[in-house]
Symmetry: C2
Subunit: 147 residues, 2 copies
Amino acid sequence: MKKERELYREFLKSKDLKFTKPRLIIMEAVFENHEHFNVDDLYEQIRKKHKNVSRATIYRTVPLLVESGLIKQSLRCESKDIYEHTYGHENHLHFICVNCGKIIESGFNDVAELINQLAEKKKFKISEYNLGARGLCENCQKNKEQS
Amino acid sequence: MKKERELYREFLKSKDLKFTKPRLIIMEAVFENHEHFNVDDLYEQIRKKHKNVSRATIYRTVPLLVESGLIKQSLRCESKDIYEHTYGHENHLHFICVNCGKIIESGFNDVAELINQLAEKKKFKISEYNLGARGLCENCQKNKEQS
DNA sequence: CACTTTAATGAGAATGAATCTCAACTGCAC
DNA sequence: GTGCAGTTGAGATTCATTCTCATTAAAGTG
Ligand SMILES: [Mn+2]
Ligand SMILES: [Mn+2]
Ligand SMILES: [Zn+2]
Ligand SMILES: [Zn+2]
């Protein structure tokens, strides 16, 4: 549980950035649970305990967490950027139900291998990818049939 | 070359939507070339010939083109939604250079097959997917090495 | 522990893509 | 042609994200 914190601290040091209280608070909030999140969620969550952390600082800190490799930008939802952990999580893809908004995750290994092969062909050096598919989840398919 | 127009007309009729002049102008502009585009690009392009088509109408029409299946929403670029043709184009994925913004396309067939298998396992009915990888193109890799 | 320097922060203003409003206009069915 | 519901243009509005700037605090120094 402390590993992320150390990685983060090292990252900040390597970039000559200060290890400040807000940066710690934000990072800890991010790793309090393992759900996808957007900046607004995070802001609300943090505000419950720390009334003085500003939205601006969260917007400034999230890209640092991305750059550190602890989290990544994921699919967009309701016109907000959303993020998810990378540290401690397998690569995976998302199935997003256009009807109810449900997000289903699925393993990725075989797909990842293929993508790497394709990238190699194009001499492209991948740092990060996102795969999101839209469609209907099981429930919504059933509900559609009835109506 | 007229095929898209007919499909579009049929789509509009099937939805009880009128086949109006602005809707035609916008659709023709979209198919004037085969590049990825965003609404702003499209607006500028259309304005050269038609001074009276409003941005609002373009924003209203693009989702119709998406729903008709002629185009799809693709990756996001410079915080704008971007779109690309689906009609007459193979499924493909994008490699986006974070350094110079270059977009490289690559065939998708094997990947698509795997994804379909995964979706089937989750009983998810895919209507559309996007795969975008960020990283460095060949040129930018070389330039980075030097500096 | 002061002291100093410089980056970081909070609050609110600004930006800008996307959406909404509403009076004027137009397809299109009759 | 007439009528009417759907559509449009122009500008206002929304809202996620970014920016500004006066104030604060990290972290090195002695
Ligand atoms: Mn996920
Ligand atoms: Mn493409
Ligand atoms: Zn659903
Ligand atoms: Zn490049």
